[in-house]
Symmetry: C2
Subunit: 341 residues, 2 copies
């Protein structure tokens, strides 16, 4: 297979690397700030660069897994990039884009999961990626962007949830007023644990198959009036990636200094179990990665450091722990406090 | 749908309840024995009986979830029964038995997972079940048994592995000399974590679609020369269930008294992560239960109490922890020690 000629490809590869750098830089600053405020010593990211590993149907690629562990703010976290070329698009993509069966692909993505140690600070995830499909004759047959960011608090604070969503909404609105409402609803649908009847957290944004003509999966596709360029989409990816930084880290910086005790820690470990359940039972990216022979340790870096499962654990009615449940269902966070008495 | 008339149905329901009683009784005795030897106080099983809950396509049923937590020997465990009647066989069964599409079913099963607190004592699982399919005209269209038992040590002892397999083998051999070799191999294939390239533990036995004519899935079915009766199969289920008790509990009783420290505990929590990965990513029973709206807390009682994930953790070469890896691949445990230098 010849290399796909595409400026967008090079720019996307550069962008995911820049976003990784930006995110690690800011996370490290939060580490130092929380440590200076009296936490344990600040941890730094270890870099695990790899080359030509990955999916069994891949021709080659490179990336780096940057991990942090035992930090002052972050008990565990990973900020990964992956830039790979493959012989054929995975079944999960072909199911939604049957016309691309047998086409090769290029993918460049950055993937982030951060688990703070302090239960007052939420866990967060983001992932931004660019895909190209290549027809058997070597031409580029399709391209699209996907991604999203979501927040999983243990002791949610409405002000924080509004800050997180507001920052992502502002970034979306700068590009298209239809983005935030559509991507917010998509996020609520995607990060849902059917067997628990609850969302993973308070959501954020989620989107896929965003290209010149519109976005969304075949059945429910939104079409733009005028085609947008790949560079406009790249600009959105950059903006959404930077918005994650501004949406998430100020929350950790504030909440990771708050005092907590054993009951809060115990509740955090229990709720982290839900995070594991979502990632291992439902998450398409995790399943595709593991089933196709991806790099297991990079894929499973998303799992929390320490997790607890207790049979039929139920918070005391009226407790701070019981208050979480009202947040685990889709809400318009900008309306009046839906939880006011 | 009329009730299925069948003596086997009543006998299977009685048997799973008896096995539950037997297993809890023996586990409680081990609890007391380990506590008397200087452990923390012995815990006892809490009984959570339920009725008419369960799968969305079920007509009704009953069962009980018996759980133990924070014990001297058992940090967490569950011994569950479930006796249910359903409107239509689940897709996972119909995929293997297409002639039964749309048929109703009756199922009686007992399911056990025990997680000792001491890393020297292995985790264990067993499940024995009886299924009946009912044609639209109300007649019994098929019946079969399924089940198995497997052992997941953290610090394996070859003598223990031989005792576990030997006890199960003896029970199998009393019924059919083909059972143990076939069921042992099936267990090695089933409890395999593809993304880790390792078995869940040291195996045991696993079988399904065991009926009058033979056993195995459509493609690789072993046929008996002469048909066996349902009562012969019930006798095997009873024997296999009792063999689990004799295979597992003496190991816990011995190993749960051995001293251990923080490094062993830490390795146990890490390895428990593999147990979670298997159950949430691969286990058919877990997936079917959760996706069909089963009783979530009873299904997920199999998950360990406390679990750790660390990026790319690798035991020191030559350490006791590194020694486990050689056990996580299929072996004939009765041959000379495959790990002798």
């Amino acid at each position: 297979m010849n290399d796909i000629e595409s400026q967008t490809k090079d720019e996307a590869a550069r962008l995911v690397t820049e976003l990784q750098e930006r995110i690690c830089h800011r996370a490290s600053a939060v580490e130092r700030s929380v440590a200076a405020a009296g936490g344990p010593d600040a941890a730094s990211f270890a870099i695990d660069a790899w080359k030509n590993e990955g999916a069994t149907n891949s021709i080659g690629g490179y990336g780096s897994t940057r991990v942090i562990a035992g930090g002052s703010a972050f008990e565990k976290g990973g900020v990964n990039t992956s830039i790979v070329t493959g012989r054929s698009l995975p079944p999960s993509v072909v199911a939604q884009r049957p016309e691309l069966a047998g086409h090769g692909f290029f993918a460049a993505g950055v993937s982030v999961v951060l688990h703070p140690g302090n239960p007052n600070a939420p866990t967060a995830h983001c992932n931004y990626r660019y895909f190209e499909a290549q027809a058997p004759d070597g031409s580029r047959s399709a391209w699209w962007f996907g991604g999203g960011a979501d927040l999983t608090p243990f002791y949610p604070v409405l002000e924080d949830v509004r800050h997180f969503h507001g920052t992502l909404r502002d970034a979306c609105d700068r590009h298209d007023p239809r983005f935030y409402p559509a991507f917010k609803a998509w996020c609520d649908r995607y990060f849902f644990l059917k067997h628990r009847g609850e969302t993973r957290g308070v959501g954020g944004i989620f989107y896929d198959y965003l290209d010149a003509g519109g976005f969304g999966e075949s059945g429910e596709r939104v079409r733009f009036e005028e085609e947008k360029s790949a560079s406009a989409m790249l600009a959105f990816m950059r903006d959404a990636g930077e918005a994650f930084v501004d949406a998430y880290f100020p929350i950790v910086e504030r909440r990771a200094r708050e005092p907590f005790g054993e009951p809060e820690r115990s509740f955090q470990l229990l709720r982290r179990g839900r995070y594991v359940e979502f990632n291992l039972i439902y998450d398409r990216g995790t399943h595709f990665g593991l089933q196709s022979g991806g790099r297991t340790e990079s894929i499973l870096m998303s799992l929390p450091p320490l997790v607890r499962w207790t049979y039929d654990a139920r918070p005391e009615p009226g407790s701070r722990e019981a208050a979480l449940q009202a947040y685990l269902t889709p809400h318009d966070w900008f309306k009046d406090d839906p939880f006011a008495p």
